[in-house]
Symmetry: none
Subunit: 538 residues, 2 copies
């Protein structure tokens, strides 16, 4: 039995059915290039003619010379019509792809309720549509919608649908768990039944995650004999999402001995997954398996001392195999070995028994006691460690900030901020408005610094979180602010704590900019001519 699995990615089609996922033609091209580089076998690009984005995508993708096969998606011909006059099928051919994904009904209930036609007409619709596409020279992947629900309800009819598609020349017969309601043992049993009915067909699997079983159901189907897996990057898709290729591919390759995209490409899995989440502008859950930021992160003290001895003690694979890496989280639950190993990762060597190490560990513990949480704020921790190691020069001297918010009945709220700092001996006083107080503060500080440090233009704040630490005193309680910042290459997290939400935000903002400028020249080295004098307030 062959151990090669064909990977069919439908991020660009089924993935965009997910709530909050919307991709422009340009986004789609960027993602297609990355998927091609990752080595997936099929890239389903969209529905030709359904909207202008997809039309543009199919036009542009032809020029790219991808190794992956690009496929166009469409339904069987309309009931009571003729395939070669069906506008949908014609657009699939005209899109210029070499492979088509044709979806058809295989659940008798759906034929009656959704299509409102007869079981015989549905079989004819499937046969005619596939025969038409084959005659036009396309490879045809037949997606049997609701195949498992159909098989449970009327196994004979579901099998007839697949037999008909096979006879019409479909290259792949894909069983879809469209509603995501099947259990792994049902998937396994039904795939086994179909393999005995059509032993020579190439079978595929397409699952949804409504029971949190899409990955398991896919593995079940592969173990029962299917050779094509349909899914999306990060599991994007309607309702609870499609099967997540970012988990399926490493499970198949590293755990079950199948070959999908090869060992080398697998090392690009994490960066590809994160790239797609950036383009889709959707936060990747930190705890996402294999590729998430916390997938190999360790928090407990005992766990940390064990992984420092041997990472196999608490890691099921070497993170590098999927391009991810080990992280040690610093928290009150953890001990000093965490901090020393964290520093080591940053290239800072502390002898754990030295005075310097004890001092910085004491300081971090004290800050954590005050409510700082460095496990979500690696950049702030790195600044502290580099400072303790004597590596940091302050970029500016803080003098004051002021923040004013005013709301008058019937008028929009107004937020203003005023920032006074000293850079390279010069006093700078800036004012800015904002959408809210923190935005105004960000704008005013940026205005003051960007003259000296133009790279700040390339960074922006990507996420802002506030957590009240102790609800006993409610609005007088301490708050912790976490800020995520990004530039083109990377993202970093900083933290601030205060009983005043704006002071906490200020701290996190300042750290975020200090981190962005790590390794930059200090302002003393900026020549006078580089500083626009008009903006410097003497």
């Amino acid at each position: 039995m062959s151990k090669s699995i064909s990977i069919f990615d439908t991020t660009l089609r089924d993935g965009t059915q997910g709530e909050g996922i919307s991709l422009s033609a340009d986004d789609k091209v960027k993602i297609a290039l990355k998927l091609n580089a990752l080595g997936v076998h099929y890239i389903e690009g969209g529905i030709p003619g359904s909207n202008s984005k997809d039309i543009e995508f199919f036009k542009r993708v032809k020029e790219l010379g991808l190794t992956s096969k690009v496929t166009a998606f469409g339904s069987t011909r309309r009931k009571g019509s003729v395939a070669d006059q069906d506008a949908n099928l014609q657009r699939m051919v005209e899109s210029g792809v070499s492979a088509a994904t044709l979806v058809g009904k295989s659940w008798d209930f759906h034929v009656h309720t959704a299509l409102q036609t007869t079981l015989e007409e549905n079989l004819a619709m499937i046969y005619d549509s596939i025969a038409f596409l084959k005659q036009k020279g396309l490879e045809v992947i037949f997606d049997a919608e609701h195949f498992f629900d159909g098989f449970k309800n009327n196994p004979d009819y579901a099998a007839q649908v697949m037999t008909k598609a096979y006879e019409a020349g479909a290259d792949w017969l894909v069983m879809c768990d469209t509603n995501g309601g099947s259990m792994p043992n049902e998937i396994s049993d039904i795939v086994t039944s179909l393999t005995s009915i059509l032993p020579d067909a190439n079978l595929g699997i397409h699952t949804h995650n409504d029971c949190e079983l899409a990955v398991a159901n896919t593995l079940s189907a592969v173990q029962a004999g299917v050779r094509q897996v349909q899914g999306t990057m990060n599991g994007y898709g309607e309702r609870c999402g499609n099967a997540n290729l970012c988990s399926i591919i490493p499970n198949l390759q590293l755990k079950l001995g199948y070959d999908c995209i090869g060992e080398n490409n697998l090392r690009n899995l994490t960066s590809t997954a994160r790239y797609v989440s950036e383009i889709a502008n959707v936060n990747m859950p930190v705890n996402q398996p294999y590729v998430g930021n916390a997938a190999f992160a360790h928090k407990g003290g005992i766990h940390v001392s064990a992984i420092l001895r041997d990472s196999r003690t608490y890691e099921h694979i070497e993170p590098e195999k999927v391009g991810n890496k080990q992280r040690v989280l610093v928290s009150e639950l953890a001990g000093q070995s965490n901090i020393v190993s964290k520093a080591h990762d940053m290239g800072i060597e502390f002898d754990p028994s030295s005075e310097k190490a004890k001092e910085i560990i004491g300081k971090i513990k004290e800050l954590e006691h005050q409510g700082y949480q460095f496990e979500g704020a690696d950049a702030s921790l790195e600044l502290l460690l580099r400072e303790a190691d004597g590596q940091l020069q302050e970029l500016f001297t803080f003098e004051s900030f002021k923040m004013l918010v005013e709301k008058v009945a019937g008028q929009p709220v107004v937020s203003e901020a005023f920032v006074k700092i000293k850079v390279a001996g010069e006093s700078i006083y800036t004012a800015a408005e904002g959408n809210g107080p923190v935005n105004a503060l960000d704008n005013a500080l940026r205005k003051a610094l960007v003259q000296y440090f133009p790279t700040l233009k390339e960074m922006h704040l990507a996420d802002y979180k506030v957590r009240v630490l102790d609800d006993k005193d409610a609005t007088a309680a301490k708050v912790r602010v976490l800020i995520e910042s990004k530039n083109i290459e990377s993202s970093w997290n900083t933290v601030g704590v205060s009983s005043n939400v704006l002071e906490a935000s200020w701290e996190a903002l300042v750290d975020s900019m200090r981190y962005a400028l790590l390794g930059q020249i200090t302002p003393e080295h900026v020549s006078e001519t580089q500083i626009p004098q008009g903006l410097v307030n003497h």
Copy 2:
């Protein structure tokens, strides 16, 4: 074979190992009450004596009279020592729980590498610790760490560990896939092996989600014969999280015919899951299976017209069975019956077909679209409904507020607020300082109102939460503020939304005071002598 499954929740212990999850003693008490109401059989509360939060939790939880058994977590005695002198074991007993979760090693590699002791000593550590806890009258749940990795590496030793624990009197033997690296078929095979070695033991399963298979692995184990399932709400936990009880429970009850928490409690699953995510202040992924906001959301087109004919066409279960609901993203049809029934609960009767009902439903939908969430803010919803029903008179007229925050280097930050309102025809202008901007605003508003409504003295703000709704623009994004207020008898929740955190806080603050004064006399009825004139600004 029994079809009852015992649900063991470890959100409060293993769940807090998740990145970004940090729970105060108060948070833990709140969550324990909800888990108890949901009907889980065991609530693992934490590690007694490990930190002050857990000590406080175990003290407070004893007073609550929960039906769920609360368990304390701890490791086997130290190597080369005696169980009844082991500080950890003693603290488990002293915590006052009736059940203890004892974790021990079952992977020979870990015994050597992490414990650095002999296989024999590890067996003795397990035996002695269980025997000690049993002798103190505790129910003992033995968690065999890395059981599956252990069994794969050295099946004899892993089996010896379980046999030893069984002989020592452990009530439950729980197989842990600690690193989350096992495949469902491996889980099934190994559970089957153990059931044949110890046919009379009560077996349990504890899985992690590193391969996105924690739910599937749990189901595999149950189908192979285990009768206790360990997991967390929303799958919180170290690295990629623990097995998600919010998916496991409905899969077991609705799909596989097991009984866990009963049909009625299952209807509270969604609200419980969302409550826990609110307390943990972690965004619930919209696409979370069963309980997520998009779990039964349909994005339009063909799917929507099909589900309007028959929801079974694209829904694997009726969402109401888990307390969730269908959402049609393009239609305003959903939710109206909810609002009418919610109003009914508050004693307000709306005829669903009346103009008044349509108007208020339209208003609530529009507010929800803007980012308001009334699920966590019943008091704000009640105010809206009573207002629509003509029951509310405004207590005051808003004129303006102003907020100033100033920080000068080396000095504490200063927050001041100025509030101008009109009560009973009188203009009032107050100023107040605060620990932070929202506290200053609260103080200034309270100062203005308390003269007219002395009962406001009895209420205070109990919790304050901020959530960024849309991280695309970071500090310019919309924020939702949730405020919990309390008086001696009760607590209530209000909401505000704005791109300005202070405006959102103001809205929630005002609602909180309006709700506190529901049913109070209106200010017109306060006699002149009751108003201290000195505080009224003409």
